[in-house]
């Protein structure tokens, strides 16, 4: 039987990917941010999961206005890095886990989550930057020819209003946990929630940062997820910037970990380009 052994949430800022790709992680400007990821890299190396279920949002890359899935799951064998206008990031193709992804699809749909099954899905910075950030410094990752972990991507629409509610996201996480626990194979799984924290990328209010709100969100991820579940769309947009709504994806990760969790590590840094960069590592309570 498979089991969820940990959860990790992180911002997925494109400029952070560019800093990695251009070898700038040790500059004065970027070093404090990247140093903050080292303990999470060490944690991931220690836990060494068989699969990462990676919750992210596509940023008008694989999906356009032609078709906008509320929740999607990548059931393919692999997912190529997307060309977001700069050419694809120089990182490996992401290997999926089709058998687990199909199992999750079946279980989630039977459980009344109306998820979209996807075979063709180039993955943008939303998915690849968290992989780069947490891949760590071992030889597999400095110039990785292959990512160290297989990934089941789960996409969430947060670009076109309306996104799913925080409660719906949390409940999806719970359903993922149930599905994982019913999987026939003996797999250790880590769930990632990505995006956020406070940021607004557009309009005259671009650059908004609300570190007090972000810190309370980080605190309550462990302490009071019930509060987080009920935060309405309007509050995310007003308090954390329009693009801060990405934080609902952290609630999918949180829901997947079960009722009680321990916080293993956190890091919070301003700025990452336009964004407050947050990172947290959780484990299910023993």
């Amino acid at each position: 039987m498979a089991r969820i052994v940990g959860g990790l949430a992180t911002s997925h800022v494109p400029a952070v990917g560019a800093a990695i790709d251009l070898g700038k992680t040790q500059t004065d400007h970027w070093k404090p941010l990247f140093d903050g990821y080292v303990p999470a890299q060490e944690w991931l190396a220690r836990v060494d999961p068989d699969v990462i279920v990676l919750v992210y949002n596509d940023h008008a890359t694989a999906f356009s206005l032609e078709i906008i899935p509320t929740f999607g799951i990548g059931v393919a064998e692999n997912f190529p890095p997307a060309d977001e206008g700069w050419g694809p990031r120089p990182v490996p193709t992401v290997d999926g886990h089709a058998e687990l992804a199909w199992h999750l699809s079946e279980s989630l749909i039977l459980d009344e989550f109306d998820i979209t099954m996807i075979n063709e899905m180039p993955v943008d910075h939303g998915l690849t930057v968290p992989l780069s950030l947490t891949c760590g410094k071992d030889s597999r990752c400095e110039a990785p020819e292959q990512w160290p972990h297989r990934v089941v991507p789960i996409s969430v629409n947060v670009v076109q209003y309306p996104p799913p509610t925080g409660k719906r996201c949390y409940d999806l996480g719970r359903a993922i946990r149930k599905a994982v626990e019913a999987y026939h194979e003996d797999l250790d799984i880590v769930v990632y929630g990505t995006g956020g924290m406070s940021h607004q990328l557009h309009g005259e209010r671009a650059g908004l940062i609300n570190s007090k709100w972000d810190t309370a969100f980080l605190d309550d991820l462990t302490r009071d997820p019930e509060r987080l579940k009920s935060i309405p769309f309007l509050e995310y947009v007003r308090e954390t910037g329009a693009e801060g709504i990405e934080l609902v994806m952290w609630l999918i990760m949180r829901g997947a970990l079960g009722d009680d969790v321990s916080e293993i590590y956190r890091h919070y840094h301003i700025p990452a380009s336009n964004t407050a960069s947050g990172l947290i590592v959780l484990e299910p309570a023993a």
């Binding site: 990328l201 309009g203 209010r205 671009a206």
Partner: protein, 129 residues
């Protein structure tokens, strides 16, 4: 206030809702097309000709030709779509953010290094808080 009124009460923010999605459809699909290198080349070689393939409004077309980043957002553009146009011109999210908020990229970067734009005073037009 209705939900819509509450959204509209947030300063300097353009919710990508059904209205903007319908208004900006062809503008955003133009941006989206720039994910292919051959389309980026074709656009850069002949901007007017390339834009003829997308039935956007004259105002939207003008916004594209003039690099009016905030104007494109106000006409239904979405920043994630628009970032593909930015990349085509070698412009980052941070550049566009500076331009939309009316400062240079350097001034904007300095604001971010100093902790970003404060939430205080940026929550609500009507309550000025």
């Amino acid at each position: 206030m209705s939900d819509q009124d509450q959204f509209d009460d947030i300063p300097g923010t353009y919710l990508f809702d059904r209205h903007r999605s319908r208004q900006g459809y062809h503008l955003n699909m133009f941006f989206f097309s720039l994910m292919k290198p051959e389309n980026r080349e074709a656009f850069l070689a002949d901007e007017e000709g390339y834009l003829d393939g997308f039935p956007m409004t004259p105002e939207q077309r003008k916004g594209v030709l003039e690099r009016d980043w905030l104007g494109m957002i106000k006409l239904g553009g979405n920043v994630y779509y628009m970032s593909k146009f930015g990349a085509t011109l070698g412009r980052s999210f941070q550049y566009m953010a500076g331009a939309m908020s009316g400062v240079t990229q350097e001034e904007y970067a300095d604001m971010m290094k100093a902790g970003g734009r404060s939430i205080d005073g940026n929550r609500s037009k009507s309550e000025e808080n």
